[in-house]
C-alpha cells in the first residue's frame, strides 16, 4: 500500500488484482446487476489510481476504495434516473451475465436473485446492507463512507433487512420458525412502555 501511494505501478496493480473482484460484485450489488458494472469498475480504479498518492492510511485501503466505488455508483445512478425521467420510461437494467436456461450456474442464479432483491431497496438502504452484510465492513467504516452517524446506519440497516426478508426468504433452505411476517401486527411489549432492553453500542465492531 505504501509503495502504491509512493507511485509504484506494480504495487498498485497488485492492489487491483486483489480487489477487482470484490469491487465488481459491490458495484453489481449496488446497481442491481447493471450491465454497466464493468465500466463502473474501471472508473473506480482509475479514480483510485489518480488519488492514490493522497491516500494517508487513516482508513483501511478497502474502506477507501469502497468509498470511491459508492460515489461512482451514486453518480451513475443519478444519471440513470435523470435519463429515465427525461425519456419518460423506466430503463430496465439488464441482468449482466444472464445466459439461457440450462447452463446457468446455481451461483449465478442465486446472485442475480439477491441483486434483484437489493435493487428493490432505495439506494440509501441498499448501500448500507451491501457494505455490511455482503462485504463485511464495520459500522464505523460504513458511517465514514456514507457520511452518516453510526446510529443512523444501524437504524437504516435494520429497516433495509426488514424490507429484504420477503424477497430473500425463498432462498433460505430452512423454514422460518417464527410465525408472522417481519413488522407483524404483534406489537413489542417494549414499545408500549413495558421495559425495553437498553444498552450502549460499543465503538468496536466484529470484523468479517
Amino acid at each position: 500500500m505504501t509503495q502504491a501511494a509512493a507511485g509504484s505501478r506494480e504495487a498498485f496493480d497488485e492492489l487491483v488484482r486483489r480487489h477487482r473482484r470484490p469491487v465488481y460484485n459491490l458495484v453489481r450489488a449496488l446497481t442491481g446487476g447493471d450491465g454497466d458494472a464493468e465500466d463502473l469498475v474501471q472508473d473506480v480504479f482509475v479514480r483510485a489510481f489518480r488519488a492514490i498518492d493522497g491516500f494517508r492510511g487513516d482508513s483501511a485501503f478497502k474502506s477507501w476504495l469502497y468509498r470511491i466505488a459508492v460515489n461512482v455508483v451514486h453518480t451513475h445512478l443519478q444519471r440513470r434516473r435523470t435519463r429515465e425521467s427525461m425519456s419518460g420510461a423506466r430503463l430496465d437494467a439488464p441482468l449482466g451475465d444472464v445466459a439461457d436456461g440450462d447452463d446457468l450456474e446455481a451461483a449465478v442464479l442465486r446472485r442475480q436473485a439477491i441483486e434483484r432483491a437489493l435493487a428493490s431497496l432505495p439506494e440509501q438502504l441498499r448501500v448500507l446492507v451491501v457494505l455490511r452484510d455482503v462485504h463485511g465492513l464495520r459500522y464505523d467504516e460504513i458511517a465514514k463512507i456514507v457520511k452518516s452517524p453510526r446510529g443512523t446506519v444501524e437504524s437504516r440497516l435494520f429497516r433495509a433487512r426488514q424490507q429484504l426478508r420477503p424477497m430473500l426468504e425463498p432462498l433460505v433452505a430452512v423454514k422460518s420458525s417464527a410465525e408472522g411476517p417481519a413488522g407483524s401486527e404483534i406489537a413489542c411489549e417494549a414499545s408500549s412502555g413495558a421495559g425495553a432492553p437498553a444498552g450502549a453500542v460499543p465503538d468496536g465492531d466484529r470484523e468479517s
Binding site: R20, V46, V108, Y139, S176, S184, E189, A198, G199, D205
Partner: protein, 156 residues
C-alpha cells in the same frame, strides 16, 4: 430496533445483550425482528462472489495503462522543469563570477596607469618649489594609489 441490528452484528456489550436476549425470549414481535435480521444477514453473507466477465481484467489493465501514460506525460514535464532550476541557478552563478573576473583586469590596468602617474607626482613632490599643503593631500592620494597598485600586483 437499531439495538437489534447491532446485536445481530455482534456490536452490543454483554450486559445489554443479555437484557435483549431476555426480552426477545418473551416478546414474539421482537423475536420475529431478530430472526429477520439474522436471516437477511445470513443470505447476503453467503451471496456468491461472481468472477469478472471474460476479458474484463485485461480491459481494466489497458485502461489503467492509458491513465498511467497520460499521468506520466504530465509528471515528466514537471520533473524536467524541476531539473532545470538548479542548472539555471548554476548558470547565474557562473555568469556572476565571470563578470566579476572580467572586470578585475581592467581595474588592475587602470590602477597601474594611476600608479605611474603617482610616481611622477612623487618626483614632483620632491621638488623644493611645491606648495606643501597641496602636496600633502596629493601625497596621501599618491600613497593610496600606490597601495592599490601593490595590492593588484600582489593578487596577479
Amino acid at each position: 430496533m437499531r439495538l437489534v441490528a447491532a446485536a445481530v452484528d455482534g456490536g452490543v456489550a454483554p450486559g445489554p445483550l443479555d437484557a435483549l436476549v431476555a426480552h426477545v425470549e418473551r416478546c414474539p414481535a421482537c423475536a420475529v425482528e431478530v430472526e429477520t435480521q439474522m436471516l437477511v444477514k445470513r443470505v447476503l453473507g453467503a451471496a456468491p462472489m461472481l468472477p469478472l466477465p471474460a476479458g474484463a481484467a485485461g480491459r481494466l489493465a489497458a485502461r489503467l495503462d492509458d491513465e498511467a501514460r497520460r499521468t506520466k506525460r504530465a509528471v515528466d514535464w514537471r520533473t524536467l522543469t524541476m531539473k532545470l532550476v538548479p542548472v539555471a541557478a548554476c548558470l547565474v552563478v557562473i555568469a556572476a563570477v565571470l563578470h566579476h573576473a572580467i572586470r578585475r583586469p581592467d581595474a588592475v590596468e587602470v590602477s597601474a596607469a594611476i600608479a605611474d602617474w603617482g610616481r611622477d607626482e612623487i618626483r614632483a613632490l620632491q621638488s623644493p618649489r611645491i606648495d606643501h599643503a597641496a602636496s600633502d593631500l596629493r601625497l596621501i592620494g599618491v600613497l593610496l594609489i600606490e597601495a592599490d597598485h601593490d595590492a593588484a600586483a600582489g593578487k596577479n
